[in-house]
Symmetry: C2
Subunit: 267 residues, 2 copies
């Protein structure tokens, strides 16, 4: 009975505008939605996120979780999105909002290139232990890449979004797209929180690059496998190597590059 | 004589690691650098940016400028990057650091999907007037796309970075890549500040998506033309339309889509 009361306020995800191409022709073009969503906790303003609006309740929960602003799902009574005012009202059980010192310490997403408490995050990494016995077989990876390719997506229609998926084996459990990579990851974290899912036997797939932030967030969710269509950065690689995370990039069709954690991967 | 004293501390931009491909072969793979860089102003800690490290001094200046933390270039005595401690020390003329109220008001980059003072940014937009008479010809656009294609880039070697260029006609004046889109834009803003360049007759090119943040930053630099290889979001389109900015997406080779500001574009 501890699940908060949630609205189901997804926005229309694409809009059509008329563009003009190089032949002077009018081309009806689908574009991705982008909306400000201001989070209030017990009427205290916390942050404004720019979002596609596909999963605003899960995004709000994941943001509050990943920024360590709220520790337990059972502390939350309700999450109510109102697009009339581009706001989401979160009500907590104690009704006291977020302590000022917690707000000061929030991480401003290293992956967007601008973080505030990078040192704290790196210290946290040292305390994460990914399950040593979890294994991923190449055939499962191929199955997952196939599932992702066949998944309906805003990206196929309109581009300009990043997608993330949580998978168990080759099966996609959740798939979230957003205009910001952070938001897509946060929304998955929010859904995992709601459904009380453990990351230890899961695979995290992202269309985006494997930067330090993506590796850190995957580790925080306790997920030992990180797969991307894209490449990686030096720090993403260093952190994944340190964690023993199995990281696979440039993964599409029957091609991939295994970057770290080979001991968990079987061909 | 008002130009600050700068280090020239670019980092090596790519590193090589050994990955393993689907045939079990070891593939030496170039990956993009990613380093924390903590900005101190008069010894006061401001923010940690995750950066490729290609233009750390310009990035620091552009960050301080775009976040409205320092108003005039002549207020800055020196910008000294020291990669031994992943830090950049900025010394101001008054030596007082940044006022607490300014720090509170800083924007945390709407484009990464997480901003704090979105309302203020939107209000600022109303006060921006892009030059009405600036024109862009299709042949110039094609020339610029050609110049970008031939430009040496980290992206071609290692992927995982975004690139931005400032152009006058088809000539690239500056080209910056970084792991975060925000950083690449901020570094261009920093270079424009240093060189006292006006944006009114320039074109801004980005490999990234045309989100609200990208449109707002281009407008803040006073640039009437925004060109991207990628698509756009609804809010990016709405703001560009409101500003009368000429925005062109999906631009590659001899193809493009003109999204807004057709009155400034000639075929």
């Amino acid at each position: 009975m501890n699940r908060p009361l949630l609205t189901q306020a997804a926005r229309p995800l694409t809009f059509e505008i008329d563009a003009v191409n190089e032949r002077g022709e009018i081309v009806p073009t689908a574009i991705a939605g982008e909306h400000p969503l201001t989070i209030y906790v017990d009427k205290q303003e916390i942050v404004t996120l720019m979002t596609l609006g596909a999963a605003p309740e899960a995004l709000t929960l994941g943001y509050l979780r990943n920024q360590r602003l709220i520790g337990k799902l059972s502390d939350i009574v309700s999450v109510q999105v109102d697009w009339e005012v581009n706001a989401v009202a979160v009500v907590t059980r104690h009704g006291q909002g977020i302590a000022a010192e917690r707000l000061e310490k929030r991480t401003v997403t290293t992956g967007c290139g601008q973080g505030t408490i990078f040192g704290d995050l790196m210290a946290e990494i040292d305390n994460i232990h990914l399950p040593a016995t979890a294994m991923l077989a190449e055939v499962t990876l191929y199955g997952l890449l196939d599932a992702v390719r066949h998944h309906e997506s805003i990206y196929k229609q309109a581009g300009a979004v990043h997608g993330c998926a949580l998978a168990k084996g080759a099966e996609i459990l959740m798939f979230v797209e957003d205009v910001g990579r952070h938001n897509a990851v946060d929304a998955i974290a929010g859904k995992m929180w709601l459904d009380e899912l453990d990351g230890g036997d899961k695979i995290f797939y992202t269309t985006g690059r494997l930067t330090s932030e993506m590796v850190i967030k995957t580790a925080q969710m306790g997920i030992p496998f990180l797969v991307s269509r894209s490449g990686l950065t030096q720090m993403g690689w260093e952190i994944a190597s340190k964690l023993g995370m199995t990281m696979i990039g440039r993964a599409q069709g029957k091609h991939y590059l295994l970057f770290s954690g080979a001991e968990r991967f079987t061909r």
